[in-house]
Symmetry: C2
Subunit: 314 residues, 2 copies
């Protein structure tokens, strides 16, 4: 049995995970951006105890404990190095955790955990090289090579969202201009919609939000696409153009066997996936002369963080 813990901005979620990647039991505590690594590490230990108690297990029954963190981690030294949204920069989480439970613990970036979970048990099961990309309010991405997370010499790699696809484009949170993340998040989709709707007030979307463009969200846009609203189709087409450029860049760089797309946008399913696949196939290097990555929708979604963290020590 394994324990996986996913540290999020509002909650810390933990699960007892079996060798087939199924979550057998769960536990959760609240979190916020001000708490430091000492408070969080105590929570991690408490959650482990709670999970073991619930299943009447002791430490000798646990094969490994892993923790996913929304930031850059260095598992070699057991530290969270840099976290944008939490108080976890240069935080020696492992040493602090071990004050409560003297047991090995692995720490890793949460997007990398999700990628590992999809590679072990989800959409990329069995792939020799897979990349999992979460399209949400930001871009999360993880690279798995031969069942192991690849994150560069400094453990901070696979920042696939922060590659410029439009030099001098709109400003990104990372300080550069025109990053893939700027165009491929939900915010990127909404920005395209806002631009087009200014001069197209007879779209379904405009009616849905009663003319208040600040109320547009991804669901409203995709619902309008399903209703064959012309403006919504144009919004999706522009969005997919930029998304496909970023995906082709990733393919040409790394030639993974499988690319997994997760996050809120991917939940729109085939209406998004099928036209994306066609665009990618048209642009990818050497076209149909060589085999290329299969692009699939994520299967584990919100549980991927816990499951992947649990597998870190496997």
């Amino acid at each position: 049995m394994y324990i996986g813990i996913d540290i999020g901005g509002s909650h810390i979620s933990a699960g007892l995970v079996n060798q087939d990647g199924k979550i057998i039991s769960r536990a959760e505590v609240p979190n916020n951006s001000r708490r430091d690594y000492k408070e969080i590490s105590k929570d991690l230990a408490d959650l482990c105890k709670q999970l073991m108690d619930s299943a009447n297990l002791s430490l000798k029954d646990i094969q490994s404990i892993g923790v996913g963190i929304p930031g850059s981690c260095n598992d070699k030294i057991g530290e969270s190095i840099y976290a944008n949204n939490l108080n976890l920069s240069h935080a020696p989480i492992r040493a602090e955790f071990q004050k409560y439970i003297p047991y090995p613990i692995h720490i890793e970036n949460d997007a990398n955990c999700a990628a590992l979970a999809e590679n072990y048990f989800g959409a990329a099961k069995g792939a020799s090289i897979s990349i999992t990309i979460t399209l949400g309010t930001g871009i999360g991405a993880g690279i798995v090579i031969d069942n192991k997370i690849f994150s560069g010499f400094n453990s901070c790699g696979s920042e696939l969202g922060h590659s410029v696809i439009v030099v001098d484009g709109p400003l990104c949170t990372c300080g550069r201009n025109g990053c893939f993340e700027v165009f491929s998040t939900t915010q990127g989709l909404i920005r395209i919609a806002e631009d087009l709707l200014k001069n197209n007030k007879n779209s379904d979307i405009f009616k849905q939000v009663n003319g208040d463009l600040s109320k547009i969200n991804g669901k409203i846009i995709f619902d309008a696409v399903r209703n064959q609203d012309k403006i919504a189709e144009e919004i999706l087409s522009i969005y997919l153009k930029y998304l496909s450029e970023g995906i082709v860049n990733i393919e040409n760089f790394l030639m993974p066997e499988v690319i997994v797309l997760g996050g809120s946008i991917s939940k729109s399913g085939d209406i998004f996936l099928e036209p994306l696949k066609k665009l990618v196939a048209k642009k990818v290097y050497a076209g149909n002369r060589i085999p290329h990555a299969d692009i699939r929708l994520a299967q584990l979604e919100n549980d991927a963080g816990i499951i992947g963290a649990a597998m870190l020590g496997r």
Copy 2:
């Protein structure tokens, strides 16, 4: 002792390479784009025999034979899969070679061979992850992880030149628009120069080519930069802006320990390297909060292909 062979468009060059990566003896035959894999494979065998004879060695003294090819290769099946400029698509080179010499032979993309050589014996010696990029008439690139070439599930990866940095930018040879290769080759540098010189006829460069812009080359531009010609400095500054965006993309993706730059442009040395390093340091993800790749000039240059090919079976 090892044998490395580098198949080029005009010549096939071979070398007997010792375990320290030194070329002990050389042999060469002409090549052209029309010759097929059967003719070329016979040449490979003849070159091997010639090298062994020259050093009074037999096959039992040779630890491995490797061949670098300007195209995509699959060493698992011993075939050259796709070559843009040579008649070597779907060519079973290994099987054909073994008709003449019944001995294991490894085949690999030539840019990957160069990257392996720099990682073993050159500018990236000892790096856990290195990327070698050749800036010439095209962009060649190879990724080395833990002393092994990484080229994706289909052996065709690390096409780092074919990642779009300007959506809807100028057309690339791969069929996409705005690839890194369009901006970072010698041709990219010259295009910037041509654009600027149309309206700036009192530049040194304009005088050097007697007003004939078709005669501009990289050397003339860099010479003018050294003479502090304002227009030449502006040309270099625009070139470095695009080059640095591509390099930062590569860093953020893969976080290599070392990035090696080779090819004709990199021969300009510090005048090019130092400002490039500054631009990259400003833009790279998480800035100085985490360690980053060291950017260095290639050391092995024209010999890298032979030396790397020789190391394929090591």
